[in-house]
């Protein structure tokens, strides 16, 4: 079969050796430079501890840090999940009802331009000091990219594709599930990746303002007691948590839309 030779994508793409290690190498390089800089400049650990001190601190305080990390993770994940559910539902409704789209779009933009730091004390006032206001603040920041990206994905469908679905007599729901939703997945995942990082920021900001536990709370407390190594330890754990969450979303993305990673 001559045609078999015209088939694209049969040669599997082989990455150059070491490509997968590159991000780790930059991280290690960054830590080494940090260590050298702090020691060479003779900076006091209260101003900036070298990574070795920060990691030692982490090693000795694992239970404390994990305890606070657990609180923050809970807030982040709940806020994120809420933003996924609300964001996707809103985008879906706005795709199908243009009146709703026009009515809600300005409100959604408004909700985003409003500075959350200014808004957070109000939420604490209304919702108390438990986990709820933190989840809500994480949600209010995270849902924006999900709505905008999903809406973009749902509505940017090739018109000829829509004609096809009409010709084969698909109803609105079938067209949504089998065409619009699938078509939007790459964009939705882009939105989710932005949203998860925003949810981290939201949860930490909420803890800054009114928390009694969590990594954000730990940062604020350590700042006021000049316990800079603890602050760095909390920051490192927080970034690790953020990177892990981001990685999980990327993994789900790879598994659920393999077609957009080929060719």
């Amino acid at each position: 079969m001559d045609e078999k030779q015209t088939v694209k994508g049969l040669d599997t793409y082989t990455p150059i050796k070491g490509t997968k290690l590159a991000p780790f190498l930059t991280l290690v390089l960054f830590l080494v430079l940090w260590e050298i800089f702090v020691r060479a400049a003779n900076i006091h650990p209260i101003v900036m501890p070298p990574p070795s001190v920060a990691f030692k601190y982490i090693a000795f305080n694992i239970p404390l840090l994990l305890d606070h990390a657990y609180t923050t993770m809970n807030e982040i994940i709940l806020g994120f999940l809420l933003s996924v559910v609300v964001g996707l539902t809103l985008a879906m409704a706005m795709t199908h009802f243009s009146l709703l789209n026009r009515a809600l779009y300005p409100l959604i933009v408004l909700s985003q331009v409003l500075p959350k730091v200014a808004f957070a004390p109000l939420l604490l006032l209304w919702l108390g000091y438990g986990i709820l206001p933190k989840v809500v603040i994480a949600f209010t920041i995270a849902f924006f990219p999900i709505v905008i990206n999903s809406l973009g994905g749902f509505t940017s469908v090739d018109p000829e594709m829509l004609d096809l679905f009409r010709v084969i007599q698909a109803n609105r729901w079938q067209t949504f599930l089998k065409l619009r939703f699938k078509n939007a997945l790459p964009q939705i995942f882009d939105g989710l990746k932005i949203a998860i990082t925003l949810a981290v920021i939201g949860a930490v900001v909420a803890e800054f303002i009114g928390g009694d536990s969590g990594l954000g709370y730990l940062i604020i407390v350590s700042n006021s007691t000049l316990d800079t190594p603890l602050m760095f330890a909390a920051l490192i754990i927080l970034s690790l948590a953020g990177i892990i969450l981001f990685g999980i979303i990327m993994l789900i993305e790879r598994l659920s839309i393999p077609w957009s990673f080929r060719g």
């Binding site: 079969m1 045609e3 078999k4 015209t6 088939v7 694209k8 994508g9 049969l10 090739d158 000829e160 594709m161 004609d163 096809l164 679905f165 009409r166 010709v167 084969i168 007599q169 698909a170 079938q174 089998k178 065409l179 699938k182 839309i257 077609w259 080929r262 060719g263």
Partner: protein, 257 residues
């Protein structure tokens, strides 16, 4: 043509009219258009670009409403997409996340028909268009010609009596296009569908059709109908016959720019 009149009429346009309302006023796309297409007939429509060929096809498939006049498919007036029509678009419009087989079975899924009983039929169609071994490939792994063959299978899976084709080979290179013409002829001989075929290419229209209809520039109406009486199956070498050239010249002179 008159001798054909006892045959069953599958598609009929009667004083068809289509006007678009645009921001710059009314656009008269089709005016007093009359065509009858008989059962198992292959009819091509050619005309200057922008003359409303695609509009005509969309009205036939129920994608666009008509302004006035009548369109009947298989005896009943068109008031929306219908099961008895299969459509092949300008582009393959395949879902890039579905394999060849799953793309072909999409209409079955939409109509909630049992997938299992159509799977065998899909495989038959895949064999018919010479794509055996590719059923689990994604569209991005196929060439343009192969993709268009998949979209032909998708249009045929529900076995509709009528096939509407909107310049299906327009985006293919000349050599692939010739291959596809031969293949379409072979498929049409096997499946015996009524085909309404839109094209820009006069030789393609003559090669494939029983009848070629020339439309005028906007507002479109029929300016010429030519019967093509070459015996079937037609060979690529037929294109160099004197009669083939004569028909092409006749059609070309009827198409006003």
């Amino acid at each position: 043509m008159k001798s054909n009149d006892h045959r069953k009429v599958m598609i009929e346009f009667q004083a068809l009219e289509k006007t678009f309302r645009t921001s710059k006023g009314e656009l008269h796309a089709i005016e007093d258009l009359n065509i009858k297409i008989f059962d198992k007939e292959f009819v091509s429509v050619v005309g200057p670009s922008g003359c409303g060929k695609t509009t005509l096809l969309k009205i036939t498939s129920g994608l666009l409403p008509r302004t006035a006049g009548g369109v009947a498919v298989n005896g009943s007036p068109v008031d929306g997409p219908a099961k008895q029509i299969g459509m092949v678009f300008q582009n393959p419009v395949l879902l890039k996340w579905r394999t060849v087989l799953d793309n072909i079975l999409l209409p079955i899924e939409i109509l909630k028909l049992p997938r299992r009983s159509y799977q065998e039929k899909a495989m038959e169609l895949i064999k018919l268009v010479d794509l055996i071994g590719f059923e689990n490939f994604l569209p991005s792994e196929l060439s343009g010609g192969m993709q268009q063959r998949v979209s032909l299978c998708r249009a045929l899976i529900t076995d509709p009596p009528i096939l509407l084709m909107d310049e299906p080979f327009g985006s293919l290179d000349a050599l692939t296009r010739d291959d596809m013409n031969l293949e379409l002829q072979r498929i049409w001989e096997t499946k015996k569908k009524t085909v309404l075929f839109i094209t820009h290419s006069i030789p393609e229209a003559v090669f494939l059709s029983d009848r070629v209809v020339v439309l005028s520039p906007r507002p479109s109406k029929v300016v010429l109908t030519v019967d093509v009486n070459f015996k079937r199956p037609r060979e690529p070498s037929d294109k160099y016959e004197k009669e083939f050239g004569r028909l092409c010249t006749l059609l070309r002179s009827a198409i006003k720019k």
